[in-house]
């Protein structure tokens, strides 16, 4: 067998075809031998690329929204909106987790400035009265001891939380208009993430020096920002 013959039978070689003549040639020809082992290597390494990549979290959000809109996913209690602290949270919490990890960089900005990318209804300077927004169930944070929350940072955080509820309503009506089928999905997820923010804020109010608590709040806001972003991606 010659090198040219190797080229001819090569497509079969990698398929584990045994060929005595070929084996003999490979033993005596470094070039062909190297070629064959390279091709085998490429083939075996390629197998590891299967399932190598993780899709972005928004892929599931879109699928779920579509399935719900089509009635493939059915709401167990369609008419009753879940109260503020139901098990919905545990459901949405995990898909938001990887999202939070990806957004650490923008987090401190979000906490000290604004929770969502869209700026609407900026509020005035630092001091605000903790009135529960009409659209939201009374926040646990509103009942947290006011004295503990006296640091400027925390006051500001609360201000941000309240400003955002008006934004949420605007956001949801936007979603309703552009993609009516998705309203329930985003409403549920928004409620979940708002609960998370509220819990994190309440805890931080009582433990103002707890860095982990601050981190939780940052992550909560990140998740919300990401939720907005997903919706933007989807309705456009």
């Amino acid at each position: 067998m010659k090198c040219a013959d190797v080229q001819r039978v090569l497509p079969e070689v990698i398929e584990n075809r045994q060929d005595g003549e070929l084996e003999a040639h490979l033993k005596s020809c470094p070039a062909c031998s190297e070629l064959v082992s390279d091709l085998k290597l490429i083939s075996s390494e390629a197998r590891q690329l299967s399932a190598s990549d993780e899709p972005a979290p928004r892929v599931w959000v879109r699928i779920a929204a579509e399935l719900r809109a089509e009635g493939v996913i059915r709401e167990p209690e369609a008419a009753t909106p879940a109260p503020a602290t139901t098990s919905r949270r545990s459901w949405s919490a995990w898909w938001l987790v990887p999202v939070a990890a990806a957004l650490l960089a923008g987090a401190s900005y979000i906490v000290t400035h604004k929770p969502a990318p869209q700026v609407a209804g900026q509020q005035g300077p630092a001091v605000t009265t903790p009135a529960a927004p009409a659209s939201q169930p009374p926040a646990t944070v509103a009942q947290a001891p006011a004295a503990k929350a006296s640091s400027p940072q925390n006051a500001k955080n609360r201000e941000v939380a309240e400003a955002s509820s008006a934004e949420d309503q605007q956001f949801l009506s936007e979603v309703s208009q552009r993609a009516p089928g998705m309203r329930v999905t985003y409403e549920n997820q928004l409620r979940s993430v708002n609960n998370y923010i509220r819990d994190a804020q309440a805890y931080l109010d009582q433990n103002p020096d707890d860095e982990d608590a601050r981190q939780h709040l940052i992550e909560a806001y990140q998740q919300k920002a990401m939720l907005y972003q997903m919706a933007l991606d989807h309705v456009q």
């Binding site: 290597l41 490429i42 390494e45 197998r47 190598s52 899709p55 892929v59 493939v72 996913i73 990887p98």
Partner: protein
């Protein structure tokens, strides 16, 4: 990162619950298979945004038909074939050849240059995974299809012939040419890297 309670219910249970419209069940099925489906789309399209769209489409098509799914056939096989069909459909829509029309489409730039010393570079038993991904991205569409289906995803030539609509011999020769090209690309990348340092 942890997927949602993967061990808590079996895939078969999730399928049964999904037939009742249970969102959590759909979610479990999604997370069990998302990487495989998305990676296949990404390898074939070499474009993350399009890969997301197609992964979404594949899952949607499957979930819509979940009530017709019979327990005896493997869910993953079903999903996998559906994904391939969605991807191939997309390639056809874009007018890309599923099977390469020989070398005619290739430009000079795509061929590694001998003067860079690529021919002297050896792969010597190791390939960087990212480089391999990039090399696959560079393959002409037809070669890419057969290579990804066979070497990455593990389809047999007769299955590929059926899916793509070509002969088995054609599938074999495309695969071989794809591997040869990848070898060239990889050597070229390695030579380039060596030249830069």
């Amino acid at each position: 990162m942890t997927d949602p309670k993967p061990g808590s219910i079996t895939e078969a249970e999730a399928i049964e619950r999904a037939k009742q419209g249970d969102e959590a069940a759909f979610e479990i099925l999604y997370h069990l298979h998302k990487r495989r489906v998305y990676s296949l789309c990404l390898r074939m399209l070499s474009n993350p945004a399009q890969a997301e769209d197609l992964a979404q489409e594949a899952f949607l098509q499957l979930f819509r038909k979940i009530s017709t799914f019979r327990g005896e056939s493997a869910f993953s096989t079903w999903l996998h074939r559906m994904t391939v069909n969605v991807v191939l459909m997309q390639l056809r829509k874009k007018g890309l050849p599923l099977v390469s029309l020989e070398e005619t489409l290739e430009t000079e730039e795509e061929t590694p240059k001998k003067e860079l010393g690529a021919q002297d570079v050896k792969l010597t038993g190791s390939i960087d995974r990212l480089q391999l991904q990039r090399a696959i991205d560079r393959l002409p569409p037809g070669y890419k299809t057969v290579f990804v289906l066979h070497d990455v995803e593990g389809f047999e030539h007769n299955e590929i012939a059926e899916l793509v609509g070509c002969s088995i011999g054609n599938s074999k020769s495309q695969l071989h040419k794809a591997r040869l090209k990848l070898r060239d690309y990889l050597k070229f990348m390695r030579a380039e890297k060596a030249g830069n340092t």
